[in-house]
Subunit: 193 residues, 2 copies
């Protein structure tokens, strides 16, 4: 998505330790009209799929998922929650996700009420790097017996292994922008063609 | 908002310890078309105000705020973040918010880049009980020198003191539903007329 690449070049900040900050429109302040365009783009990219539910994870994925839902006929959005305790009840699907950014492992849950075997799920998230979050969400859908129809990502770090692993595993993954390289010394960012 | 009261009666679950769970449409699964109606209603309730920014707090407020933004001319949404460390930099406005639900105090921050003295802010959140979260968000706007034009809440627990204190302090507070009482034994919920 050309407009997203331009926005990243203009507003993104490359920080030490492989961090791209896009706080001006996605991760802290949200540019809602831009989210609208991203929602339209996801619909275009997954137009052949019958989606009954969008699954994301709190917190930054929620805005993107909600706006995308409008373009998929207002299907329900479910956001997986980071469990506050490791005391997981029988009423929940549970998976564990390693967080690269915060160097910890989160227990992530979805209530069994909101994900089931009839669901055809589009998984949406803001970033894809090593793929841990997405494989965790895929795991939750599979526990529920649902079908993962696709994975939609705003920004993929193409030089990390997540995208390759998800495509290799046979999932239909679409990223609105794929970063080929970035340099925190020069602030240079290049995108995959 | 009559439709919201009906939805709470139909789908809300009263739990021990003054907890109302609305996970089916707001706090876990999100009914996006219903969020759309709530966004329209907030616009109607604050139609005389010139709003330049919507401020909320992660995570459950984000969906409501993003959908409301559409009805206020796509103004930017900023979500305050729960700080992961108590190491707060100079680039952040910082406040502390006691969480009733999780019985802890959170350090909550907003980057100084995304809130400033030109901002006319509508604060939006999903629940209002003792008012701690809202007074924290008001504090952040005031630190930035901005103006709090209003506070929009989805569900106010009218029998707790938050709503009274915010109105008493002179803020324009609108809650889409105000619960007068609820009973976890009988599951009965009554609303303020």
């Amino acid at each position: 998505m050309k407009a997203l690449e331009e926005k990243i070049l203009k507003e993104g900040i490359v920080k030490e330790g492989n961090v791209l900050k896009v706080d001006s429109f996605l991760n802290h302040q949200i540019d809602v009209s831009f989210l609208e365009k991203m929602g339209e783009e996801f619909k275009e990219l997954f137009k052949d799929k019958k989606i009954t539910k969008i699954l994301t994870i709190e917190a930054s994925g929620i805005g993107v998922a909600v706006m995308a839902s409008r373009h998929f006929g207002y299907v329900p959005v479910v956001f997986a929650k980071k469990a506050k305790t490791s005391n997981i009840s029988d009423e929940l699907y549970h998976t564990r996700i390693d967080s690269y950014t915060h160097q910890k492992t989160n227990d992530v849950v979805v209530s069994k009420q909101y994900l089931n075997q009839d669901d055809h799920v589009l998984i949406i998230d803001d970033f894809l790097a090593n793929g841990c979050a997405i494989f965790g969400l895929i795991d939750l859908v599979q526990q529920a017996g649902g079908v993962v129809e696709g994975v939609g990502i705003v920004i993929e770090k193409g030089y990390q292994e997540g995208g390759h692993k998800i495509r290799e595993a046979g999932y239909h993954l679409e990223s609105l922008a794929i970063i080929e390289s970035m340099n925190d010394q020069t602030s240079e960012i290049t995108f995959r063609k």
